[in-house]
């Protein structure tokens, strides 16, 4: 397919987003466009579905396989601690630094830090569950927590 056509196809969602923002306002238009575009795109995917006969998957179709990791109990417990409480504290520490040090209205700082915290915690979860070097992850998360909470406490007390 011609690259121009492909580019035009991918450009359609961007144009639809711009039109929705013009018609309904920036936030409302974006929220409407993102929900409706997803429905439209899935409709296009459904139109192009292929019905196949029962068969074993061919080699080229195989998706990447998850990495087999050692199944020791202590690694599982440490991994859960890293992804759960430690990841949460580290994310909270960075978010608190944002709330304390970001310039601007305190309400904006608080809400932005609130939005940042789940994202950071989610990223910490992804990383600690994927990284096989658990001690490195432990050091980074503990360091981030101590440093972040300390810096935030200094700013909060000031």
């Amino acid at each position: 397919m011609a690259p121009a056509l492909v580019a035009a196809g991918w450009g359609l969602p961007a144009i639809a987003l711009a039109l929705a923002i013009l018609a309904f306002g920036p936030v409302k238009g974006m929220a409407l466009a993102l929900a409706m575009q997803a429905i439209g795109a899935l409709g296009v995917v459904w139109q192009g579905r292929v019905q196949r006969k029962a068969a074993r998957p061919r080699a080229g179709e195989a998706a990447p396989e998850p990495l087999e990791q050692p199944g020791r109990v202590w690694r599982g417990v440490l991994r859960a601690l890293l992804a759960g409480p430690l990841g949460m504290v580290a994310a909270l520490a960075v978010a608190l630094c944002v709330a304390v040090y970001l310039p601007g209205d305190p309400r904006t700082r608080i809400v932005l830090s609130g939005l940042l915290m789940p994202v950071l915690w989610g990223l910490a979860m992804t990383w600690t569950l994927a990284d096989r070097r658990l001690l490195r992850a432990l050091a980074v998360l503990v360091g981030t927590s101590l440093l972040g909470l300390g810096i935030a406490a200094l700013g909060g007390a000031a």
């Binding site: 309904f24 306002g25 936030v27 409302k28 929220a31 409407l32 993102l34 929900a35 409706m36 997803a38 429905i39 795109a41 899935l42 296009v44 995917v45 459904w46 192009g48 292929v50 196949r52 029962a54 068969a55 074993r56 998957p57 080699a59 080229g60 179709e61 195989a62 998706a63 990447p64 396989e65 998850p66 990495l67 087999e68 991994r79 909270l92 978010a95 608190l96 304390v100 209205d105 305190p106 309400r107 904006t108 608080i110 809400v111 932005l112 830090s113 609130g114 939005l115 915290m117 789940p118 994202v119 915690w121 989610g122 990223l123 979860m125 992804t126 569950l129 994927a130 990284d131 909060g156």
Partner: protein
């Protein structure tokens, strides 16, 4: 890397930024997280999908409640006066006026000493009680799993974080995200079919899934975040953090005063912001001299009402706020709930949210199915887990449908306990019974289909056919029709 496709020009031009080993490690993280949280993510997504339609479900449960397309200021004033007589003295009254995003006018009284009361407002301002126990049960199951508010909210918030993390790892572990963007291969290998469904529904609706997970996580974790902020900034006084977003209460004055003319206040609010239409009227400390009446108005191009006029007990304007006066944080905070539940754009947006919510349920369900199919392909089938997962996926809608039936015939029945007992019975039964997981899924789907049709028919026969009854009957019939060929294949 397991990808063994022939090299082509595109792969020479651009490569996935992660090494094959990293992709596999991230996929492993995706699997672990998905499996650990699958059931609770599925439950929260399923109930959330239904909660999107709670304005419609309330009217389905209480069909005698009027749905007015518009309400005169005079009728609004009468409704407030009537509610004042019935509400607890410490209750706050909140009148929602009909608008483009939501048909019908409702009045709610909420406070600390008595349970919430909700009424639908008739065209003349008369109040019709609108207690919808099943919708209420569903909402609390979604928001806090019927656990104590802070614990339940934290678990739901943690689920949102796990979903966010799964979305990130799912994308990072999908090197063929663009190349396979339009592939949907049904039939053939079960694992490939489920993977295609999982990836297409996950990727194309990613902005929706991400927004929902983020806003849900923030709503659930807000207590924790506020507590941490208060500890750091205000020596643990959480009220000081909340105080940044809400007005401080006026000096107490408990002398009894009559309610001012709400119609006149609405006219003043309209005159102050002609480009906005009044959407809610809130009355705090009603009947007292320190009463505060707030009229919030919405502009068509804004997501939520951002114009506010506040009056005292005599109807004097005390303060007003308009979009330009609001901090970005206040605007964002005001929109989070609306964006999360899809209550900002009328029925079309609710239907879109409902469909995308179902897509997220399928993404969650297919994720576990892929893992189970992978185990089976490797000769390590887990039939007990296959049955349990079938019981979660099809047993949860079945349990919710049964609670709806019970609420219809016995509105005072303890729905949370009923739901819990049903859930335990279905999952424990699935773990113990010796039956193929696929056959169990078919049986549960049939039971769900038949139950949905019965629910729609009984409701239509007793109170008259409504749109939700039609959806229930059609959805149930579709489920029954879809299970027939599957049943034949299984038998063969």
């Amino acid at each position: 890397m397991t990808e063994q496709t022939p090299r082509n020009t595109r792969s020479k031009q651009w490569r996935w930024p992660l090494s094959p080993e990293t992709v596999r490690a991230v996929l492993s993280s995706h699997s672990v997280l998905g499996l650990a949280f699958a059931a609770v993510i599925y439950l929260v997504c399923l109930t959330g999908t239904l909660v999107v339609f709670s304005p419609d479900l309330q009217h389905w449960e209480v069909p005698q409640a009027p749905v007015v397309p518009s309400l005169s200021d005079r009728a609004a004033g009468r409704a407030v006066l009537l509610a004042e007589r019935q509400a607890a003295p410490d209750a706050t009254l909140s009148l929602s006026l009909p608008g483009p995003a939501r048909a019908g006018a409702t009045l709610m009284a909420y406070g600390n000493k008595r349970a919430e009361q909700t009424w639908a407002v008739a065209p003349d301002g008369a109040l019709v009680p609108m207690d919808a126990p099943w919708t209420e049960f569903l909402l609390h199951l979604h928001v806090n799993l019927h656990l104590p508010r802070s614990w339940g909210g934290f678990i739901v918030g943690l689920t949102g974080v796990a979903l966010l993390s799964s979305l990130v790892s799912g994308i990072l572990a999908h090197p063929r995200v663009v190349r396979d963007a339009f592939h949907l291969r049904l039939g053939g290998s079960r694992r490939l079919q489920e993977a295609d469904l999982h990836n297409r529904l996950g990727v194309w609706a990613l902005p929706f899934h991400f927004t929902l997970a983020l806003t849900g996580a923030l709503l659930g974790l807000s207590t924790l975040i506020v507590a941490a902020l208060a500890l750091l900034l205000y020596r643990g006084d959480t009220q000081k953090v909340y105080g940044l977003f809400i007005d401080p209460p006026p000096p107490a004055d408990a002398r009894a005063v009559p309610m001012p003319d709400i119609a006149a206040l609405l006219a003043i609010a309209r005159a102050r912001t002609p480009e906005a239409a009044p959407q809610t009227v809130s009355i705090a400390r009603h009947g007292r001299a320190d009463m505060r009446i707030t009229v919030n108005s919405a502009r068509p191009r804004l997501l939520v009402p951002q114009d506010e006029v506040q009056f005292d007990a005599r109807g004097t304007v005390l303060a007003e706020e308009h979009p330009a006066d609001l901090a970005l944080g206040t605007k964002v905070l005001g929109g989070i709930g609306q964006v999360h539940f899809g209550w900002f754009g009328g029925a079309a947006v609710r239907v879109a949210y409902g469909l995308l919510g179902l897509a997220l349920c399928v993404v969650t369900s297919s994720g576990v199915t892929i893992w189970l199919a992978r185990r089976r392909d490797r000769g390590r089938a887990a039939p007990q887990w296959e049955r349990i997962w079938a019981a979660v996926c099809w047993g949860q809608p079945l349990a919710l449908m049964v609670t709806a039936m019970i609420a219809m015939v016995a509105p005072r029945a303890p729905l949370p306990i009923t739901w819990l007992v049903l859930t335990i019975a279905i999952v424990a039964g699935a773990a113990l019974v010796r039956i193929d997981g696929a056959r169990l899924a078919v049986g549960l789907r049939r039971a769900l289909g038949a139950g949905l049709v019965a629910l729609g028919l009984v409701h239509a026969a007793t109170v008259g056919l409504g749109p939700i009854d039609g959806v229930l009957c059609l959805g149930g019939a579709a489920l029954l029709a879809l299970t027939w060929p599957v049943a034949r294949r299984s038998a063969a």
